[in-house]
Symmetry: C2
Subunit: 326 residues, 2 copies
DNA sequence: ATGAAAGCGCTAACAG
DNA sequence: CTGTTAGCGCTTTCAT
């Protein structure tokens, strides 16, 4: 790895000029060429570490997501990456497993690695963004919000919950249960509130035990659905507040031999591509990738020095209704 | 962000002593305490960038995988992460999309970011590892190998292909086709050779068009299976050489109304957790996570200075047979 | 437009 | 065991 000194010597200019060439400063075309030639001959690549030490910042964005195995988050990550790449930034993916300790650790790394900014889907309300924020690093919360004063991009979760539930009501189901995510996570709470609003307004028969909180994964949805089916008066339809729990629910339904012709399922989120999805499931399509590009865009603007007041962008979901019961 | 100088001043010692404390060198217990106190009071965190510039290396491992949405690779990534974390290393995940250009770009980043080493599943035989290797950075190829002189961890793909096909033969199927991955990727070629070996040895009826090369994704498997079913004499069983293509095949089968009671499917790889898998599919369980931990282990040893001759570790797959036909 | 020179924060000789 | 000191490679005033 050659240094700017070697390039400078070979080109017959000063190191500062070499630096200028590689940073788009004004340099006479002649010296420009000289430097570029020398650099090519030496296979010179600027040392990012030295640059970072000097500039106190890198072209790296940290992306902290709760579950790398959830297609929703990988899609989101793709969105972030796309936008970041365009701007010449790299993205470092960090899997927090919804574990505040891991999250904190990664936040620390982001700071001590002098990353340009952080996009995160907080594992809990108690994320400590204090350190990174007071360092002046831009932070954008995505999908979930935080009490800290940072920009945010989220989904209109209440509307998504309403849409999913409404589709079931319109399809003629009578007893609609809800498999919601863990308490304390705003996004899933809003979705469940959407369900509650609709069932209340439409006078739906909701029995004791029709609302179940589960973890966000397949096994959570599976267990919750099993419990629902074991009820004295089981529901005839279910809303799940995320994609993975719906997969678990489908599995439980299949195991119990319940046909989806007679049982309604609506998901806030999309069934993963991999799932052999029955066409009779209503999906509320979440703009995961768009969430990512939007968050990246906001972050890049902040990194570029944008100082406008804090913004929260709310994205709207699409409904893909299942065909009517028949 | 306080520096070692500020800590040193507050503790009444030299900067070097502070550095020593944070690097586990021998320091008198007394000064040790002084330094730690001062550091705590100032919320000091060592600046990784400066350290890296000085040491010419970081505690970061780059992991380049072809498809972040494939559960096989996320499992592998988990393995790498686990082992790396234990050793105090961070892992940067890079998604190459099987695109040699992206791969090269990431390799360049790994070099200019002075990462400690690289684990990669090469997008093609033509990866240019020359630069990174000549830089002296350890590299471990995982799942796929390369012509470059680097350590490797792979699966006994031939045996896996044999196992999958044999299960189908033993279950009594007569005409067994193969949906293989793209040509030029060693792992899938070996699996397909396993199939060929078995069908030849067992005198299986293999018609024209029973071997299909597809891309590694769901749509590839889907199209290939459709083509197979459209044949004059369609097969009664299929081996797919990876997990995602099997999902596509299942989908095509479902669309065509073909029941898995009468049609055999064997996968080299595991159907993703998300898939509502019929129990009648034979899966050859690939030790994805173990592949990751093993690769990470080898890389860490190299980073630590291990200079033994190049090694290639071959891991063996497990078969999860489907129940017999009938 | 260009060069000289001063660090960014840390580590590793080298002395003591 | 501890302090002094010289860089790692780069960017950025400050002069010219």
């Amino acid at each position: 790895m050659a240094t700017i000194y070697e390039v400078a010597a070979l080109a017959g200019v000063s190191p500062a000029t070499v630096s200028r060439v590689f940073n788009g400063r004004t340099v006479s075309p002649e010296k420009q060429r000289l430097v570029l030639d020398a650099a090519a001959r030496l296979a010179f690549t600027p040392n990012k570490t030295a640059r970072r030490l000097r500039k106190r910042s890198s072209e790296i964005i940290a992306l902290l997501i709760p579950d790398i195995e959830n297609p929703f988050y990988t899609a989101l990550a793709r969105g972030v990456e796309d936008r970041a790449q365009e701007a010449g930034f790299s993205v470092v993916l960090c899997n927090t497993d919804d574990d505040p300790a891991k999250e904190l650790r990664y936040l620390g790394i982001a700071a001590s690695e002098e990353m340009a900014g952080v996009i995160l889907s907080p594992a809990s309300d108690e994320v400590d963004l204090g350190a990174i924020v007071s360092l002046g690093r831009p932070v954008v919360a995505v999908d979930r919000t935080t009490p800290y004063p940072v920009d945010a991009v989220k989904i209109d979760n209440r509307a998504a919950g309403i849409a999913a539930t409404t589709a079931l009501v319109d399809a003629g189901f009578q007893r609609i249960a809800c498999i919601a995510g863990p308490l304390g996570i705003e996004s899933t709470e809003d979705r469940f509130l959407g369900w509650r609003q609709v069932v209340a307004a439409r006078g739906i028969d909701v029995r004791e035990g029709y609302l179940r909180h589960a973890n966000f994964r397949v096994d959570g949805g599976h267990a919750a659905m099993k419990a629902l089916l074991a009820l004295d008066a089981p529901p005839d339809a279910v809303v799940t507040t995320n994609n993975l729990m719906a997969v678990g629910a489908l599995r439980a339904l299949a195991e119990a031999g319940v046909s989806l012709d007679a049982f309604g399922l609506a998901v806030v989120g999309e069934l993963p591509d991999l799932v052999l999805a029955p066409a009779t499931v209503t999906q509320v399509r979440l703009p995961a990738r768009h969430l990512g590009t939007t968050a990246a865009q906001m972050l890049l603007e902040r990194i570029a020095g944008d100082a406008q007041p804090l913004r929260t962008v709310v994205l709207r979901a699409d409904v893909i209704p299942a065909p009517p019961v028949g």
